[in-house]
Symmetry: C2
Subunit: 273 residues, 2 copies
Amino acid sequence: VTLALFNGHPETGSWMASRGLHYGDGVFRTALVFEGRVVDLDRHIEKLVSDAGQISLSPTGAKACRGEIQALAAGHASAVAKMVLWRRSEQRGYRPSTTDTERLLLIDELRPLPAIAWQSGIEVQRSAVTLAQQPLLAGIKHLGRMEQVLASAQLRRNVTEAIQCDASGRPIGGTRSNLFWVRAGDLYTPRLSACGVAGVMRQKVLEIAQMLRIPWRIGDFEWCDFEAADEAFLTNSLIGIWPVRACDRRKWRAPGAVTRALMQKLSHPLAPA
Amino acid sequence: VTLALFNGHPETGSWMASRGLHYGDGVFRTALVFEGRVVDLDRHIEKLVSDAGQISLSPTGAKACRGEIQALAAGHASAVAKMVLWRRSEQRGYRPSTTDTERLLLIDELRPLPAIAWQSGIEVQRSAVTLAQQPLLAGIKHLGRMEQVLASAQLRRNVTEAIQCDASGRPIGGTRSNLFWVRAGDLYTPRLSACGVAGVMRQKVLEIAQMLRIPWRIGDFEWCDFEAADEAFLTNSLIGIWPVRACDRRKWRAPGAVTRALMQKLSHPLAPA
């Protein structure tokens, strides 16, 4: 028997037992809706199933998201789709007793469209908030995102995104994006085996690089490797590719030639023709 | 405008925007209710205010919890009180735009009372799930608790609690308790400056040790320091002190003399006379 007050008022909704809320015991995906369709839906569902599996959640709920989010997205010209999945609550305490999930699907209109500086690129900063190393959770987007919240709170004016490093100062990625750079024609992106989220757009960009015969490498890189880059960009599902024109004092001409080639091939719905 | 489905059904509750659910951007406390009163309520509210402050949340909501949880607890012989506080949601995305909070207060009956092995002690195990080091979040009980969930999932049969170490193998604490041990009459407990939660009962036990003139030390200790102990125990707000009689192959006579003295002085409502 549970007695509850939510902001001072009696509450009876089952959400208040959510292990997503109480423990962050779940995973989520954010996708773009364009002209009534969820972009890259198959990739997102596949990633949701895979992330769920990494914390011992059944794929059933993740798979149910596919039809539901598509139905919810119908008729929306441009929106954000969010799929949140968490372990069903059966008893008090951390110990999980089931792999069953609950799910919350959300559609929010994107009006106006996000300001995407396709031609000029965005400015980013190196975050003072480092990412703790937890190999068991690396690569997945679980519901505990305090490190990203703390980094976002420190964004300077006119700075769009913060690059977070691991405790050794190696660049890992943006708070809501994956990091790439180009050096001497080769494409680089950090390995995400100890921290960071391996986004759907990161994978897609690597596949496009493969198609375009752009050599690419995933590895453990130093901050100075990133600063020595000829071009840099960030990726996420909403934006596609964000050319980076500055990170603190380091400036680039953006977008660079390789970035531009990737953007063209990507044909993201919000990207310029 | 948000369109939402919760487990396949249309949903309109404001909870679905909770930054507690989406990002773990909040903190919580679990306290014992005994004979209609929340035990150590002042300490819990003080800790809630302090934890909230560490992630830039206003103390107003935390302070409002005091009267509300006490009113909710009235009439309950023995129960668990949970106070959950998260940042109010104003816009999409990680970036926090306010220090205002929302709060969820829960009371769950404790029937039967937790099985407390006061006389014989409990068995614990060393967890294979290590704690990532994040000094910005160390010591506080924020809503992202996946590491505790993963450790709890691996609890062996008849084992009550798992001791988690940092990545260097130093013992930090239980999934839902703080760790103490005694060696040559001195009391030891790990420093929690990079990971772990500094519980209310941990602080109380240190104060009692002070009163009893038991020398105590907070520091960075190795696993072998813990294994070399003469006595060991765990603490949390529900249980008070849990004597430890075994950790994997290491056995102790439990409770030891110092543990027993602390238990007597603590006079926790659920403790033996």
